[in-house]
Symmetry: C2
Subunit: 459 residues, 2 copies
Amino acid sequence: MAERYEIVQKALLQMLEEKKYATLRDVLVTMNPSDIAALFADLEEKQIPLMFRLLPKEQAAETFVEMDPEEQALLIRGFSDNELKEVLDELYVDDAADIVEEMPANVVKRILKTADPEMRSSINQILRYPENSAGSIMTTEYVSLRPTMTVEEAILRIRRQGVDKETIYTCYVTRPDRKLIGIVTVKDLLLAEDDETAIEDLMTTNLISVTTHSDQEDVAKMFSKYNFLALPVVDGEDRMVGIVTFDDAMDVMEEETTEDMEIMAGITPSEKTYLKSTPWDLFGHRIPWLMLLMVSATFTGMIISSFEEALGMLPALTAFIPMLMDTGGNSGSQSSVTVIRALSLDELSLGDLGRVLWKEIRTAVLCALCLGAVCFLKVLLVDRLLMGNESVSLLVALVVCLTLALTVIIAKVVGCVLPMAAKAMGADPAVMASPFITTIVDALSLLVYFLFAKTLLGV
Amino acid sequence: MAERYEIVQKALLQMLEEKKYATLRDVLVTMNPSDIAALFADLEEKQIPLMFRLLPKEQAAETFVEMDPEEQALLIRGFSDNELKEVLDELYVDDAADIVEEMPANVVKRILKTADPEMRSSINQILRYPENSAGSIMTTEYVSLRPTMTVEEAILRIRRQGVDKETIYTCYVTRPDRKLIGIVTVKDLLLAEDDETAIEDLMTTNLISVTTHSDQEDVAKMFSKYNFLALPVVDGEDRMVGIVTFDDAMDVMEEETTEDMEIMAGITPSEKTYLKSTPWDLFGHRIPWLMLLMVSATFTGMIISSFEEALGMLPALTAFIPMLMDTGGNSGSQSSVTVIRALSLDELSLGDLGRVLWKEIRTAVLCALCLGAVCFLKVLLVDRLLMGNESVSLLVALVVCLTLALTVIIAKVVGCVLPMAAKAMGADPAVMASPFITTIVDALSLLVYFLFAKTLLGV
């Protein structure tokens, strides 16, 4: 598929260079706006306005929405006031608000000056809501109906108003004070047996709504739970102010997942895509965690220093340190990632801590027995016999495999408890993933190692 | 919100115990099927059929779809043939196929025997497609129109057939041989100015479709790219066989993300939720990777062994090993996770390797300079002055911080190259995350460490 796309792309760029504008336009009108936007990303700066002006009005607006902020800014700077107004008139309010958020101040000023008064006030309203709230991703364009309308009247209203609404398929039944009292779908309307049925007899009153200040992540979760096309957004007095549509929820899901993964890898989340980030951006998002974790590792170093004498007496012990630390870290990461994901999908709640702990302990014992046994054999066969290291005695093998077993158990307990503790304290559980767990487990595993060595080997 | 739900839940369970069935039913009919299904998960086995029978037919079927396979199997075993048929008749074909896939053989047999012949053949058709293909998640119930119909005829057809279709909002225009030639939405139909307009003049012919064998992950990506409500599924001859709807795409997105995270943490992906997995399940999914990585760590141990003498001469060197290994591992994980996520969102393709490498190297140099400088100061101030370790000379500090700097650079290069190499070889890039990178980087960082120590310190 990707290949076919590249062939089309090449052909179109060639037409542009050869100034075959009519042909180019004929091809462009058959394409999906998302694909056209992807095409723009590969154009040179001066080609962008040229190609954009070939698009018919509606398609131009749809393509504009899908473009990168840099290209949008470039286009807007080149637009006449008239051209800008034409594009703005075709935009949905939530898309316009998204664009305004990304633009430099002078471009924003021009957009707000050019937009018609109604859109300007809607954009301003959406921009007032906190980032990541339902209010900031909603659109104020929806179809509202009155409870006393008949099916026929409702359909007529949709036909008259629908062209400007982001979705017409879910309609919201409100009282004159804008209080939301029911929902009716176009399917309900079309399948109603009698055109004279009143909307209030047809509507669902089992309302599921969010408020303007609901977290966008919670809103996205409701979409995947209930399979809605759109979700109504109400204010503190249950008055209808807008809707969130499923496509925005999907974008939020993707964004939040990326953010979780970044946090889990010890990266401060960024809004820029990888290829758009400069090395300085990447550096800025990565160095704080690297620094913090490097400094934390000082404690691990201090533990080793304080057992320097023991290591001096039995240098063979040093060789097992990386294996013990890595296996501990991996065991802990497995548990923490599983728990973090289950928490974020709401499969787990804080009340489940007891069950989780009991499950992890039993899993850990199984893993510990299995790894310990294999490790014991490996140490004796490989390190002692194969590599002929005489100082690796039976007792040393025992110390190593006991440490390993205990480390795995400690790691799994730490790995499942810390994310839940973070959540209990209102922090993001994703912070308690691999890098953090590894640092803690490293220190603990070394302590266990040297204590066993002291007790059993007397070093 | 979760709290309010628990209060409702408690009240409902109490009604059930006090046998206030009429009241319970009155409350249940106002609830969303997803919420009722969540309620069932907390019931005792014998209460499940009791409460299920209180639900009206349509709501019962919708709730059934949202329940866990265990509870579905329990209910089916208790159903009379008549009850089973009633539920099956209300199900969409793709949901029925999903349920059949999860049931034990004897239950499947009963379902297929009870379903009406049309549904039976559709279920069988869907089950024939490979797991994770578009065919396996599609439904065969969609509205098809003919190009010569008028808008009025089309709306009439939707009104007649729509009740059994999963979505009526996107209709598919096909020729008599089922070849897909266009798409028309209910919005297009409702907003058409003339009821006599022919469908072929209204339909979009810019078709985006998938084939029955397309990977479900690619299908889900198309939804988030194009914001479709539904996507047509065609066979090898472009004949329409079904549709995938956005709610199924959202489920796939969630599933695939969980799978990616599991693989990135060194866990074999599982279809069971955490709380449903037994310790044996968890053990089985975790031990292969732990074992593999433990054995790989042998190489790291061998490197240390071969430098045993050097460490014996300057024991202070040992204390820095964990810090060097951890910082290397963390640096590598950051790059690998960033690249893995960008690959899975199609923000990166294999052709970008050069740009990625160049970006990572510059980022790595910045991180290396910054970490190296802080590390140098830390070693001198903390290890030498504060802890009074005389053997930590200026030269030792230099060796440690040079190793650190080089390790960070190596780690970032390894971290970005390996996922792209995996992709190039057709493997899942997610495998090349933290556990794998850590093991490789550990060995490399130790090699660098000892080589620097040998050269600069002459040990």
